[in-house]
Protein backbone atom coordinates (compact mmCIF):
# COMPACT_ATOMS: atom_id res chain seq x y z
CA UNK A 1 0.00 0.00 0.00
CA UNK A 2 1.27 3.46 -0.92
CA UNK A 3 1.60 5.52 2.22
CA UNK A 4 3.38 8.48 0.69
CA UNK A 5 0.90 9.72 -1.88
CA UNK A 6 0.92 13.48 -2.33
CA UNK A 7 -1.11 16.16 -3.93
CA UNK A 8 1.04 16.40 -7.08
CA UNK A 9 0.42 12.72 -7.80
CA UNK A 10 -3.30 13.32 -7.61
CA UNK A 11 -3.04 16.34 -9.88
CA UNK A 12 -1.34 14.06 -12.42
CA UNK A 13 -4.21 11.61 -12.03
CA UNK A 14 -6.67 14.48 -12.41
CA UNK A 15 -5.41 15.07 -15.93
CA UNK A 16 -6.44 11.53 -16.75
CA UNK A 17 -10.08 12.02 -15.69
CA UNK A 18 -12.65 11.25 -18.34
CA UNK A 19 -15.29 13.74 -19.32
CA UNK A 20 -17.98 11.15 -18.53
CA UNK A 21 -20.21 12.47 -15.76
CA UNK A 22 -20.77 9.97 -12.99
CA UNK A 23 -22.97 12.15 -10.77
CA UNK A 24 -25.00 15.12 -11.96
CA UNK A 25 -26.91 17.32 -9.53
CA UNK A 26 -29.15 20.03 -11.03
CA UNK A 27 -30.77 22.75 -8.92
CA UNK A 28 -30.92 20.55 -5.88
CA UNK A 29 -32.92 21.98 -3.02
CA UNK A 30 -33.72 20.32 0.28
CA UNK A 31 -36.23 21.70 2.73
CA UNK A 32 -37.05 20.06 6.06
CA UNK A 33 -40.58 20.84 7.11
CA UNK A 34 -42.30 20.45 10.45
CA UNK A 35 -45.75 21.71 11.43
CA UNK A 36 -44.37 25.08 12.42
CA UNK A 37 -41.03 25.57 10.75
CA UNK A 38 -39.27 25.14 7.40
CA UNK A 39 -35.52 24.71 7.27
CA UNK A 40 -33.68 25.15 4.02
CA UNK A 41 -30.84 22.61 4.17
CA UNK A 42 -29.65 22.86 0.56
CA UNK A 43 -30.28 25.49 -2.05
CA UNK A 44 -29.57 25.51 -5.80
CA UNK A 45 -26.80 22.96 -5.78
CA UNK A 46 -25.43 22.28 -9.26
CA UNK A 47 -22.62 19.83 -9.33
CA UNK A 48 -21.16 17.47 -11.91
CA UNK A 49 -18.75 14.81 -10.74
CA UNK A 50 -16.71 13.05 -13.38
CA UNK A 51 -16.08 9.34 -13.50
CA UNK A 52 -12.93 8.56 -11.54
CA UNK A 53 -12.94 11.92 -9.77
CA UNK A 54 -12.09 12.25 -6.08
CA UNK A 55 -14.12 15.15 -4.75
CA UNK A 56 -14.16 16.52 -1.25
CA UNK A 57 -16.92 18.59 0.30
CA UNK A 58 -16.13 20.98 3.12
CA UNK A 59 -18.04 23.47 5.15
CA UNK A 60 -18.98 24.35 8.72
CA UNK A 61 -21.22 22.09 10.78
CA UNK A 62 -24.85 22.24 9.73
CA UNK A 63 -24.11 23.66 6.26
CA UNK A 64 -25.70 20.65 4.52
CA UNK A 65 -22.67 18.50 3.66
CA UNK A 66 -24.13 15.27 4.99
CA UNK A 67 -27.53 16.10 3.52
CA UNK A 68 -25.90 16.51 0.12
CA UNK A 69 -24.05 13.21 0.55
CA UNK A 70 -27.29 11.45 1.55
CA UNK A 71 -29.00 12.84 -1.53
CA UNK A 72 -26.14 11.62 -3.74
CA UNK A 73 -26.38 8.24 -1.97
CA UNK A 74 -30.14 8.06 -2.60
CA UNK A 75 -30.72 7.75 1.13
CA UNK A 76 -32.68 10.99 1.05
CA UNK A 77 -34.72 12.62 -1.69
CA UNK A 78 -34.32 16.27 -2.66
CA UNK A 79 -37.29 18.60 -2.36
CA UNK A 80 -36.48 19.96 -5.82
CA UNK A 81 -34.00 19.25 -8.58
CA UNK A 82 -32.68 16.30 -10.54
CA UNK A 83 -30.06 13.69 -9.75
CA UNK A 84 -28.47 11.52 -12.39
CA UNK A 85 -26.05 8.79 -11.51
CA UNK A 86 -24.29 6.98 -14.36
CA UNK A 87 -26.64 8.80 -16.72
CA UNK A 88 -29.63 7.31 -14.97
CA UNK A 89 -32.40 9.44 -13.53
CA UNK A 90 -33.24 8.33 -10.03
CA UNK A 91 -36.34 10.28 -9.06
CA UNK A 92 -38.78 7.68 -10.38
CA UNK A 93 -37.17 4.64 -8.76
CA UNK A 94 -39.17 2.55 -6.31
CA UNK A 95 -37.90 1.60 -2.83
CA UNK A 96 -36.77 -1.77 -4.21
CA UNK A 97 -35.05 -0.24 -7.25
CA UNK A 98 -33.34 2.35 -5.05
CA UNK A 99 -32.10 -0.39 -2.76
CA UNK A 100 -30.71 -2.35 -5.73
CA UNK A 101 -29.15 0.79 -7.14
CA UNK A 102 -27.41 1.59 -3.84
CA UNK A 103 -26.30 -2.01 -3.53
CA UNK A 104 -24.69 -2.19 -6.97
CA UNK A 105 -23.49 1.34 -7.69
CA UNK A 106 -22.69 2.88 -4.31
CA UNK A 107 -20.43 2.19 -1.36
CA UNK A 108 -20.76 4.05 1.93
CA UNK A 109 -18.16 4.93 4.55
CA UNK A 110 -19.20 6.64 7.76
CA UNK A 111 -17.37 8.61 10.43
CA UNK A 112 -18.54 6.20 13.14
CA UNK A 113 -17.89 3.13 10.94
CA UNK A 114 -21.35 1.61 11.52
CA UNK A 115 -20.04 -1.92 11.85
CA UNK A 116 -22.29 -4.56 13.39
CA UNK A 117 -20.52 -5.46 16.61
CA UNK A 118 -22.23 -8.84 16.83
CA UNK A 119 -20.74 -10.00 13.54
CA UNK A 120 -17.15 -10.91 12.77
CA UNK A 121 -15.13 -8.73 10.41
CA UNK A 122 -15.67 -11.07 7.47
CA UNK A 123 -19.44 -11.13 8.04
CA UNK A 124 -19.52 -7.36 8.27
CA UNK A 125 -17.75 -7.07 4.94
CA UNK A 126 -20.06 -9.61 3.33
CA UNK A 127 -23.12 -7.58 4.32
CA UNK A 128 -23.80 -5.79 0.98
CA UNK A 129 -23.43 -9.08 -0.88
CA UNK A 130 -26.25 -10.62 1.17
CA UNK A 131 -28.64 -8.42 -0.78
CA UNK A 132 -27.35 -9.74 -4.09
CA UNK A 133 -27.73 -13.03 -5.84
CA UNK A 134 -24.43 -14.53 -4.69
CA UNK A 135 -23.42 -17.83 -3.17
CA UNK A 136 -21.83 -18.09 0.26
CA UNK A 137 -18.56 -19.14 -1.38
CA UNK A 138 -18.54 -16.11 -3.68
CA UNK A 139 -19.33 -13.81 -0.77
CA UNK A 140 -16.52 -15.23 1.27
CA UNK A 141 -14.06 -14.91 -1.60
CA UNK A 142 -15.02 -11.33 -2.42
CA UNK A 143 -14.97 -10.28 1.24
CA UNK A 144 -11.55 -11.88 1.75
CA UNK A 145 -10.21 -10.03 -1.29
CA UNK A 146 -11.65 -6.73 -0.06
CA UNK A 147 -10.08 -7.23 3.37
CA UNK A 148 -6.74 -8.02 1.71
CA UNK A 149 -6.92 -4.70 -0.16
CA UNK A 150 -7.20 -2.81 3.13
CA UNK A 151 -4.52 -4.94 4.81
CA UNK A 152 -6.78 -6.79 7.25
CA UNK A 153 -6.45 -10.36 6.03
CA UNK A 154 -5.30 -11.41 9.48
CA UNK A 155 -8.35 -9.98 11.26
CA UNK A 156 -11.22 -11.72 9.51
CA UNK A 157 -12.32 -13.68 12.59
CA UNK A 158 -12.15 -10.70 14.92
CA UNK A 159 -15.14 -8.78 16.14
CA UNK A 160 -15.19 -4.99 15.56
CA UNK A 161 -14.81 -4.34 19.29
CA UNK A 162 -11.44 -6.10 19.15
CA UNK A 163 -10.08 -3.64 16.57
CA UNK A 164 -8.63 -0.13 16.75
CA UNK A 165 -10.47 2.84 15.21
CA UNK A 166 -8.26 2.80 12.12
CA UNK A 167 -8.79 -0.93 11.65
CA UNK A 168 -12.53 -0.51 12.03
CA UNK A 169 -12.57 2.16 9.37
CA UNK A 170 -10.56 -0.13 7.10
CA UNK A 171 -13.20 -2.82 7.64
CA UNK A 172 -15.83 -0.23 6.71
CA UNK A 173 -13.87 0.57 3.54
CA UNK A 174 -13.64 -3.14 2.72
CA UNK A 175 -17.42 -3.35 3.17
CA UNK A 176 -17.86 -0.34 0.88
CA UNK A 177 -15.71 -1.81 -1.90
CA UNK A 178 -16.67 -5.48 -1.64
CA UNK A 179 -19.46 -5.09 -4.16
CA UNK A 180 -17.12 -3.21 -6.54
CA UNK A 181 -19.26 -0.08 -6.69
CA UNK A 182 -18.52 2.74 -9.14
CA UNK A 183 -18.97 5.38 -6.47
CA UNK A 184 -17.88 5.61 -2.85
CA UNK A 185 -19.51 8.17 -0.59
CA UNK A 186 -17.47 8.83 2.52
CA UNK A 187 -18.90 10.91 5.33
CA UNK A 188 -15.94 12.21 7.39
CA UNK A 189 -14.06 8.91 7.16
CA UNK A 190 -11.12 10.27 9.14
CA UNK A 191 -13.17 12.31 11.60
CA UNK A 192 -12.78 9.88 14.50
CA UNK A 193 -9.13 9.05 13.86
CA UNK A 194 -5.81 10.60 14.78
CA UNK A 195 -3.75 12.09 11.96
CA UNK A 196 -1.60 8.98 11.38
CA UNK A 197 -4.63 6.71 11.17
CA UNK A 198 -6.44 9.35 9.11
CA UNK A 199 -3.57 9.44 6.61
CA UNK A 200 -3.62 5.65 6.36
CA UNK A 201 -7.34 5.70 5.55
CA UNK A 202 -6.84 8.54 3.11
CA UNK A 203 -4.09 6.62 1.33
CA UNK A 204 -6.39 3.64 0.93
CA UNK A 205 -9.06 5.87 -0.60
CA UNK A 206 -6.55 7.53 -2.91
CA UNK A 207 -5.28 4.12 -4.02
CA UNK A 208 -8.80 2.98 -4.70
CA UNK A 209 -9.46 6.04 -6.76
CA UNK A 210 -6.22 5.77 -8.64
CA UNK A 211 -5.99 2.03 -9.16
CA UNK A 212 -9.63 1.03 -9.48
CA UNK A 213 -10.94 4.24 -10.98
CA UNK A 214 -13.59 4.50 -8.27
CA UNK A 215 -15.34 7.85 -8.07
CA UNK A 216 -15.13 9.09 -4.49
CA UNK A 217 -17.07 11.88 -2.82
CA UNK A 218 -15.80 12.65 0.66
CA UNK A 219 -17.19 15.01 3.26
CA UNK A 220 -14.46 16.26 5.55
CA UNK A 221 -13.60 18.96 8.04
CA UNK A 222 -9.89 18.46 7.47
CA UNK A 223 -8.30 20.88 5.00
CA UNK A 224 -5.23 18.65 4.61
CA UNK A 225 -7.32 15.67 3.63
CA UNK A 226 -9.47 17.78 1.32
CA UNK A 227 -6.40 19.07 -0.49
CA UNK A 228 -5.34 15.53 -1.30
CA UNK A 229 -8.41 15.13 -3.52
CA UNK A 230 -8.92 16.28 -7.12
CA UNK A 231 -11.46 18.94 -6.34
CA UNK A 232 -12.87 20.69 -3.33
CA UNK A 233 -16.43 21.94 -3.03
CA UNK A 234 -17.33 24.29 -0.18
CA UNK A 235 -20.80 24.71 1.21
CA UNK A 236 -22.11 27.46 3.42
CA UNK A 237 -25.66 27.64 4.74
CA UNK A 238 -26.79 25.08 2.19
CA UNK A 239 -25.30 26.84 -0.81
CA UNK A 240 -22.26 26.02 -2.86
CA UNK A 241 -19.64 28.77 -2.43
CA UNK A 242 -16.70 27.16 -4.24
Amino acid sequence: MDNQLNHSQLITDNSQLTTHKMIQLKNIEKVYRTDTIETLALSSINLDIAKGEFLSIMGPSGCGKSTLLNIMGLLDAPSKGDIRISDQKTDHLSDKQLAQFRNKKLGFIFQSYHLINDLQVLDNVELPLLYRDTTAKERRQLATEALAKVGLSNRIKHFPTQLSGGQRQRVAIARAIVGRPEIILADEPTGNLDSAMGNEIMDILINLNRNEGTTIVMVTHDENMAHKTHRLVRLFDGSQVQ
Partner: protein, 396 residues
Amino acid sequence: MIKHLFKLIWNKKKQNFLLITEMFISFLVIFAVFTSLVYYYRNYKKPMGFSYDNVWVINYQNAKKFQSTDSVTQYYATLTAMLKSMPQIKALSFASGNVPFTSSMNTTGLSYKGVSYSPVNYYQTGDGYRDAFSMNLLEGRWFNQQDVVSTYRPVVINASLKEQLFGNGSAVGQLISDNSNSSIKKIKIIGVVQDMKDKGDYLPSGMALYNRIDTGAMRWLGQLIIKVSPDADAAFESKLYKTVANYMKDASVEIQHFSKKRISTNKSTLVPITIFCIVAAFLIINVSLGIFGVLWYNINRRRAEIGLRRAVGATGNSVSAQLIAESLILATLSVIIGTFFAVQFPLLNVFNLQAGIYITAMLLAIVFIYLLVLLCSLYPGRQAAAIYPAVALHEE
Protein backbone atom coordinates in the same frame (compact mmCIF):
# COMPACT_ATOMS: atom_id res chain seq x y z
CA MET B 1 -29.44 -14.96 4.68
CA ILE B 2 -30.69 -17.62 7.13
CA LYS B 3 -27.08 -18.53 7.97
CA HIS B 4 -26.36 -14.84 8.51
CA LEU B 5 -29.35 -14.56 10.87
CA PHE B 6 -28.24 -17.64 12.81
CA LYS B 7 -24.77 -16.11 13.21
CA LEU B 8 -26.30 -12.86 14.41
CA ILE B 9 -28.53 -14.69 16.90
CA TRP B 10 -25.72 -16.94 18.10
CA ASN B 11 -23.36 -14.01 18.62
CA LYS B 12 -26.08 -12.27 20.66
CA LYS B 13 -26.89 -15.36 22.67
CA LYS B 14 -26.70 -13.58 26.01
CA GLN B 15 -29.27 -10.98 24.97
CA ASN B 16 -31.45 -13.63 23.35
CA PHE B 17 -31.31 -16.04 26.29
CA LEU B 18 -34.06 -14.27 28.27
CA LEU B 19 -36.32 -14.00 25.25
CA ILE B 20 -35.85 -17.69 24.45
CA THR B 21 -36.55 -18.57 28.10
CA GLU B 22 -39.72 -16.48 28.05
CA MET B 23 -40.94 -18.20 24.89
CA PHE B 24 -39.95 -21.62 26.24
CA ILE B 25 -41.98 -21.11 29.45
CA SER B 26 -44.90 -19.81 27.40
CA PHE B 27 -44.68 -22.91 25.23
CA LEU B 28 -44.89 -25.20 28.27
CA VAL B 29 -47.85 -23.28 29.74
CA ILE B 30 -49.66 -23.30 26.38
CA PHE B 31 -48.84 -26.99 26.00
CA ALA B 32 -50.43 -27.66 29.41
CA VAL B 33 -53.52 -25.63 28.51
CA PHE B 34 -53.91 -27.33 25.14
CA THR B 35 -53.36 -30.77 26.68
CA SER B 36 -56.27 -30.10 29.06
CA LEU B 37 -58.45 -28.64 26.33
CA VAL B 38 -57.73 -31.44 23.86
CA TYR B 39 -58.37 -34.02 26.60
CA TYR B 40 -61.72 -32.46 27.52
CA TYR B 41 -62.70 -31.88 23.90
CA ARG B 42 -61.96 -35.47 22.89
CA ASN B 43 -64.06 -36.73 25.78
CA TYR B 44 -66.82 -34.28 24.94
CA LYS B 45 -66.96 -35.56 21.36
CA LYS B 46 -67.48 -39.14 22.52
CA PRO B 47 -71.11 -40.28 22.84
CA MET B 48 -72.61 -40.29 26.33
CA GLY B 49 -73.48 -43.98 26.00
CA PHE B 50 -76.66 -43.61 28.02
CA SER B 51 -79.70 -41.39 28.40
CA TYR B 52 -80.18 -39.32 31.55
CA ASP B 53 -83.35 -37.47 30.54
CA ASN B 54 -86.32 -38.36 32.74
CA VAL B 55 -84.10 -40.50 34.91
CA TRP B 56 -84.19 -39.82 38.64
CA VAL B 57 -82.36 -41.22 41.59
CA ILE B 58 -83.94 -41.78 44.97
CA ASN B 59 -81.23 -41.58 47.63
CA TYR B 60 -82.23 -43.21 50.87
CA GLN B 61 -80.56 -44.07 54.13
CA ASN B 62 -82.60 -46.80 55.64
CA ALA B 63 -82.30 -47.08 59.42
CA LYS B 64 -84.40 -50.21 59.45
CA LYS B 65 -82.77 -53.25 61.07
CA PHE B 66 -83.41 -56.51 59.24
CA GLN B 67 -83.41 -59.89 60.93
CA SER B 68 -82.49 -61.93 57.83
CA THR B 69 -81.57 -61.70 54.17
CA ASP B 70 -85.00 -62.99 53.26
CA SER B 71 -86.67 -60.14 55.08
CA VAL B 72 -84.44 -57.67 53.26
CA THR B 73 -85.32 -59.22 49.90
CA GLN B 74 -88.99 -59.19 50.76
CA TYR B 75 -88.83 -55.59 51.97
CA TYR B 76 -87.30 -54.23 48.76
CA ALA B 77 -89.37 -56.52 46.49
CA THR B 78 -92.50 -54.98 47.99
CA LEU B 79 -91.15 -51.47 47.40
CA THR B 80 -90.25 -52.39 43.82
CA ALA B 81 -93.71 -53.79 43.14
CA MET B 82 -95.30 -50.68 44.66
CA LEU B 83 -93.28 -48.36 42.42
CA LYS B 84 -93.74 -50.46 39.28
CA SER B 85 -97.47 -50.13 39.74
CA MET B 86 -97.18 -46.41 39.10
CA PRO B 87 -97.80 -45.82 35.36
CA GLN B 88 -95.23 -42.99 35.15
CA ILE B 89 -92.38 -45.32 36.13
CA LYS B 90 -90.98 -47.09 33.08
CA ALA B 91 -87.99 -48.87 34.61
CA LEU B 92 -86.23 -49.06 37.94
CA SER B 93 -83.13 -50.55 39.47
CA PHE B 94 -81.29 -50.47 42.75
CA ALA B 95 -77.69 -49.37 42.44
CA SER B 96 -74.51 -48.82 44.38
CA GLY B 97 -73.55 -45.28 45.40
CA ASN B 98 -71.49 -44.57 42.26
CA VAL B 99 -74.48 -43.61 40.12
CA PRO B 100 -73.83 -41.21 37.20
CA PHE B 101 -72.78 -37.64 37.90
CA THR B 102 -71.61 -38.19 41.46
CA SER B 103 -68.09 -37.99 42.79
CA SER B 104 -68.53 -41.40 44.40
CA MET B 105 -66.22 -44.08 42.96
CA ASN B 106 -65.85 -47.77 43.48
CA THR B 107 -62.98 -49.54 41.74
CA THR B 108 -61.65 -53.06 41.53
CA GLY B 109 -58.88 -54.98 39.81
CA LEU B 110 -59.17 -57.74 37.25
CA SER B 111 -56.80 -60.22 35.76
CA TYR B 112 -56.89 -62.17 32.54
CA LYS B 113 -54.22 -64.54 31.29
CA GLY B 114 -51.86 -63.34 34.00
CA VAL B 115 -52.22 -59.66 33.16
CA SER B 116 -53.76 -57.33 35.73
CA TYR B 117 -56.10 -54.52 34.80
CA SER B 118 -56.88 -51.69 37.19
CA PRO B 119 -58.53 -49.48 38.14
CA VAL B 120 -61.82 -50.82 36.83
CA ASN B 121 -64.96 -48.96 37.87
CA TYR B 122 -67.21 -51.37 39.65
CA TYR B 123 -70.99 -50.91 39.60
CA GLN B 124 -73.65 -52.83 41.51
CA THR B 125 -76.75 -52.82 39.35
CA GLY B 126 -80.15 -54.40 39.13
CA ASP B 127 -81.85 -56.01 36.15
CA GLY B 128 -83.59 -52.75 35.24
CA TYR B 129 -80.44 -50.59 35.28
CA ARG B 130 -79.80 -50.85 31.54
CA ASP B 131 -83.43 -49.99 30.68
CA ALA B 132 -83.45 -47.09 33.12
CA PHE B 133 -80.43 -45.49 31.41
CA SER B 134 -81.22 -46.80 27.89
CA MET B 135 -77.69 -48.22 27.74
CA ASN B 136 -76.50 -49.43 24.35
CA LEU B 137 -75.76 -53.15 24.40
CA LEU B 138 -72.98 -54.05 21.96
CA GLU B 139 -72.66 -57.76 22.59
CA GLY B 140 -74.42 -60.50 24.59
CA ARG B 141 -77.17 -59.53 27.03
CA TRP B 142 -77.91 -57.64 30.26
CA PHE B 143 -78.75 -59.34 33.58
CA ASN B 144 -82.00 -61.23 34.08
CA GLN B 145 -83.54 -63.78 36.45
CA GLN B 146 -81.62 -66.73 34.96
CA ASP B 147 -78.39 -65.27 36.36
CA VAL B 148 -79.50 -66.22 39.89
CA VAL B 149 -78.53 -69.82 39.28
CA SER B 150 -75.41 -69.45 37.08
CA THR B 151 -72.21 -71.31 37.98
CA TYR B 152 -69.97 -68.28 37.65
CA ARG B 153 -70.89 -64.80 38.79
CA PRO B 154 -72.19 -63.04 35.65
CA VAL B 155 -70.86 -59.59 34.80
CA VAL B 156 -71.29 -57.07 32.01
CA ILE B 157 -68.30 -55.00 30.93
CA ASN B 158 -67.98 -51.83 28.91
CA ALA B 159 -66.32 -51.43 25.50
CA SER B 160 -63.10 -49.90 26.94
CA LEU B 161 -62.53 -52.87 29.24
CA LYS B 162 -63.42 -55.29 26.45
CA GLU B 163 -60.84 -53.67 24.16
CA GLN B 164 -58.18 -53.92 26.85
CA LEU B 165 -58.96 -57.55 27.58
CA PHE B 166 -59.80 -59.01 24.20
CA GLY B 167 -59.07 -56.39 21.55
CA ASN B 168 -61.35 -57.10 18.61
CA GLY B 169 -62.25 -60.59 19.81
CA SER B 170 -65.52 -61.62 21.37
CA ALA B 171 -65.93 -61.13 25.13
CA VAL B 172 -69.16 -63.01 25.81
CA GLY B 173 -68.62 -66.28 27.60
CA GLN B 174 -65.03 -65.44 28.63
CA LEU B 175 -63.95 -66.05 32.20
CA ILE B 176 -61.86 -63.44 33.98
CA SER B 177 -60.65 -63.11 37.55
CA ASP B 178 -61.88 -60.55 40.04
CA ASN B 179 -59.02 -59.58 42.34
CA SER B 180 -61.10 -57.43 44.68
CA ASN B 181 -61.16 -59.99 47.49
CA SER B 182 -58.35 -61.96 49.04
CA SER B 183 -59.61 -65.05 47.24
CA ILE B 184 -59.61 -64.59 43.50
CA LYS B 185 -62.98 -65.45 41.98
CA LYS B 186 -63.72 -66.36 38.41
CA ILE B 187 -66.42 -64.25 36.82
CA LYS B 188 -68.13 -64.73 33.48
CA ILE B 189 -68.81 -62.04 30.94
CA ILE B 190 -72.38 -62.16 29.61
CA GLY B 191 -72.52 -58.83 27.79
CA VAL B 192 -70.71 -55.72 26.61
CA VAL B 193 -72.21 -52.23 26.75
CA GLN B 194 -71.12 -48.98 25.17
CA ASP B 195 -68.92 -46.76 27.36
CA MET B 196 -71.05 -44.68 29.70
CA LYS B 197 -69.69 -41.17 30.40
CA ASP B 198 -71.09 -41.15 33.90
CA LYS B 199 -68.63 -38.56 35.25
CA GLY B 200 -69.90 -35.89 32.92
CA ASP B 201 -69.50 -34.80 29.33
CA TYR B 202 -65.81 -33.91 29.68
CA LEU B 203 -64.40 -36.94 31.50
CA PRO B 204 -63.82 -40.41 30.13
CA SER B 205 -65.78 -43.44 31.24
CA GLY B 206 -62.70 -45.54 31.91
CA MET B 207 -62.91 -49.33 32.17
CA ALA B 208 -66.13 -50.52 33.81
CA LEU B 209 -67.56 -53.70 35.17
CA TYR B 210 -71.27 -54.11 36.05
CA ASN B 211 -72.18 -56.67 38.67
CA ARG B 212 -75.68 -57.98 39.36
CA ILE B 213 -76.82 -57.03 42.86
CA ASP B 214 -76.71 -59.95 45.20
CA THR B 215 -79.61 -60.24 47.63
CA GLY B 216 -77.13 -60.05 50.49
CA ALA B 217 -75.94 -56.67 49.28
CA MET B 218 -79.38 -55.06 49.30
CA ARG B 219 -79.09 -53.90 52.91
CA TRP B 220 -76.02 -51.80 52.08
CA LEU B 221 -77.42 -50.03 49.02
CA GLY B 222 -78.87 -46.54 49.10
CA GLN B 223 -79.81 -45.63 45.54
CA LEU B 224 -82.84 -46.43 43.47
CA ILE B 225 -82.73 -45.42 39.79
CA ILE B 226 -86.05 -44.63 38.14
CA LYS B 227 -86.88 -43.95 34.53
CA VAL B 228 -90.09 -41.95 34.36
CA SER B 229 -92.32 -40.98 31.48
CA PRO B 230 -91.93 -37.47 30.03
CA ASP B 231 -95.23 -36.40 31.60
CA ALA B 232 -93.93 -37.07 35.14
CA ASP B 233 -94.23 -33.66 36.77
CA ALA B 234 -93.63 -32.10 40.18
CA ALA B 235 -96.93 -33.50 41.47
CA PHE B 236 -95.81 -37.00 40.56
CA GLU B 237 -92.43 -36.37 42.16
CA SER B 238 -94.18 -35.31 45.36
CA LYS B 239 -96.38 -38.41 45.27
CA LEU B 240 -93.35 -40.60 44.67
CA TYR B 241 -91.51 -39.03 47.55
CA LYS B 242 -94.43 -39.57 49.91
CA THR B 243 -94.82 -43.17 48.79
CA VAL B 244 -91.19 -44.01 49.40
CA ALA B 245 -90.91 -42.00 52.62
CA ASN B 246 -94.07 -43.58 54.03
CA TYR B 247 -92.80 -47.04 53.16
CA MET B 248 -89.31 -46.45 54.55
CA LYS B 249 -90.16 -45.25 57.99
CA ASP B 250 -87.26 -43.44 59.73
CA ALA B 251 -85.31 -43.28 56.44
CA SER B 252 -84.04 -40.04 54.95
CA VAL B 253 -85.20 -39.84 51.33
CA GLU B 254 -84.12 -37.45 48.58
CA ILE B 255 -85.01 -37.40 44.89
CA GLN B 256 -82.59 -35.96 42.34
CA HIS B 257 -82.80 -35.55 38.55
CA PHE B 258 -79.82 -36.78 36.54
CA SER B 259 -80.25 -33.98 33.98
CA LYS B 260 -79.61 -31.44 36.76
CA LYS B 261 -76.82 -33.51 38.28
CA ARG B 262 -75.14 -33.58 34.84
CA ILE B 263 -75.12 -29.79 34.59
CA SER B 264 -73.70 -29.50 38.08
CA THR B 265 -71.02 -32.14 37.37
CA ASN B 266 -70.02 -30.48 34.13
CA LYS B 267 -69.71 -27.14 35.92
CA SER B 268 -67.45 -28.57 38.57
CA THR B 269 -65.28 -30.10 35.81
CA LEU B 270 -65.10 -26.90 33.80
CA VAL B 271 -64.48 -24.45 36.66
CA PRO B 272 -60.84 -25.50 37.32
CA ILE B 273 -59.92 -25.58 33.61
CA THR B 274 -61.65 -22.21 33.09
CA ILE B 275 -59.62 -20.71 35.94
CA PHE B 276 -56.48 -22.31 34.51
CA CYS B 277 -57.26 -20.87 31.07
CA ILE B 278 -57.86 -17.39 32.51
CA VAL B 279 -54.57 -17.50 34.44
CA ALA B 280 -52.81 -18.80 31.32
CA ALA B 281 -54.44 -16.07 29.20
CA PHE B 282 -53.09 -13.39 31.56
CA LEU B 283 -49.69 -15.04 31.38
CA ILE B 284 -49.84 -15.11 27.58
CA ILE B 285 -50.87 -11.44 27.47
CA ASN B 286 -47.95 -10.66 29.77
CA VAL B 287 -45.57 -12.70 27.65
CA SER B 288 -46.80 -11.14 24.40
CA LEU B 289 -46.35 -7.66 25.84
CA GLY B 290 -42.89 -8.75 26.95
CA ILE B 291 -41.94 -10.10 23.52
CA PHE B 292 -43.44 -7.04 21.87
CA GLY B 293 -41.52 -4.73 24.21
CA VAL B 294 -38.22 -6.56 23.79
CA LEU B 295 -38.54 -6.54 19.99
CA TRP B 296 -39.44 -2.88 19.94
CA TYR B 297 -36.54 -2.09 22.25
CA ASN B 298 -34.21 -4.13 20.02
CA ILE B 299 -35.31 -2.18 16.98
CA ASN B 300 -34.63 1.13 18.68
CA ARG B 301 -31.26 -0.18 19.81
CA ARG B 302 -30.47 -1.35 16.28
CA ARG B 303 -31.55 1.76 14.38
CA ALA B 304 -28.01 2.37 13.09
CA GLU B 305 -27.74 -1.24 11.92
CA ILE B 306 -31.11 -0.97 10.18
CA GLY B 307 -29.99 2.31 8.55
CA LEU B 308 -26.79 0.63 7.41
CA ARG B 309 -28.65 -2.34 5.94
CA ARG B 310 -30.89 0.06 4.02
CA ALA B 311 -27.79 1.91 2.76
CA VAL B 312 -26.08 -1.25 1.50
CA GLY B 313 -29.09 -2.57 -0.36
CA ALA B 314 -31.90 -3.75 1.92
CA THR B 315 -35.43 -2.60 1.17
CA GLY B 316 -37.81 -1.57 3.96
CA ASN B 317 -39.67 -4.83 3.50
CA SER B 318 -36.53 -6.94 3.66
CA VAL B 319 -35.51 -5.23 6.92
CA SER B 320 -38.96 -5.95 8.31
CA ALA B 321 -38.78 -9.54 7.08
CA GLN B 322 -35.33 -9.95 8.63
CA LEU B 323 -36.52 -8.84 12.07
CA ILE B 324 -39.59 -11.08 11.89
CA ALA B 325 -37.39 -13.97 10.73
CA GLU B 326 -35.03 -13.39 13.67
CA SER B 327 -38.00 -13.59 16.07
CA LEU B 328 -39.25 -16.73 14.40
CA ILE B 329 -35.80 -18.34 14.64
CA LEU B 330 -35.76 -17.53 18.36
CA ALA B 331 -39.25 -19.01 18.61
CA THR B 332 -38.00 -22.12 16.79
CA LEU B 333 -35.16 -22.55 19.30
CA SER B 334 -37.65 -22.17 22.19
CA VAL B 335 -40.05 -24.61 20.57
CA ILE B 336 -37.27 -27.18 20.05
CA ILE B 337 -36.31 -27.01 23.74
CA GLY B 338 -39.99 -26.98 24.76
CA THR B 339 -40.81 -29.95 22.54
CA PHE B 340 -37.95 -31.91 24.08
CA PHE B 341 -39.61 -31.54 27.48
CA ALA B 342 -43.17 -31.92 26.19
CA VAL B 343 -42.38 -35.16 24.37
CA GLN B 344 -41.38 -36.74 27.69
CA PHE B 345 -45.06 -36.72 28.75
CA PRO B 346 -46.25 -39.30 26.20
CA LEU B 347 -42.94 -41.20 26.41
CA LEU B 348 -43.16 -41.56 30.19
CA ASN B 349 -46.96 -41.89 30.09
CA VAL B 350 -47.39 -39.07 32.60
CA PHE B 351 -51.01 -38.63 33.80
CA ASN B 352 -51.97 -41.79 31.89
CA LEU B 353 -53.27 -39.85 28.87
CA GLN B 354 -53.24 -41.06 25.28
CA ALA B 355 -50.15 -40.05 23.30
CA GLY B 356 -52.43 -38.52 20.65
CA ILE B 357 -53.65 -35.93 23.15
CA TYR B 358 -50.09 -34.80 23.91
CA ILE B 359 -49.09 -34.78 20.23
CA THR B 360 -52.15 -32.72 19.25
CA ALA B 361 -51.48 -30.33 22.14
CA MET B 362 -47.82 -30.03 21.12
CA LEU B 363 -48.74 -29.18 17.53
CA LEU B 364 -51.32 -26.63 18.69
CA ALA B 365 -48.82 -25.09 21.13
CA ILE B 366 -46.19 -24.83 18.35
CA VAL B 367 -48.67 -23.12 16.00
CA PHE B 368 -49.81 -20.83 18.83
CA ILE B 369 -46.25 -19.79 19.73
CA TYR B 370 -45.41 -19.03 16.10
CA LEU B 371 -48.60 -17.01 15.67
CA LEU B 372 -47.96 -15.16 18.93
CA VAL B 373 -44.38 -14.32 17.97
CA LEU B 374 -45.42 -13.38 14.44
CA LEU B 375 -48.13 -11.05 15.73
CA CYS B 376 -45.77 -9.52 18.29
CA SER B 377 -43.11 -8.99 15.59
CA LEU B 378 -45.31 -7.54 12.87
CA TYR B 379 -45.68 -4.03 14.31
CA PRO B 380 -42.03 -3.64 15.42
CA GLY B 381 -41.05 -5.03 12.00
CA ARG B 382 -43.14 -2.38 10.27
CA GLN B 383 -41.62 0.28 12.53
CA ALA B 384 -38.18 -0.92 11.49
CA ALA B 385 -39.14 -0.75 7.82
CA ALA B 386 -40.21 2.85 8.33
CA ILE B 387 -36.86 3.92 9.81
CA TYR B 388 -35.35 6.63 7.67
CA PRO B 389 -31.80 5.45 6.83
CA ALA B 390 -30.35 8.95 6.45
CA VAL B 391 -31.54 9.82 9.96
CA ALA B 392 -30.65 6.48 11.57
CA LEU B 393 -27.11 6.61 10.21
CA HIS B 394 -26.46 9.97 11.80
CA GLU B 395 -27.70 9.00 15.26
CA GLU B 396 -25.17 8.02 17.86
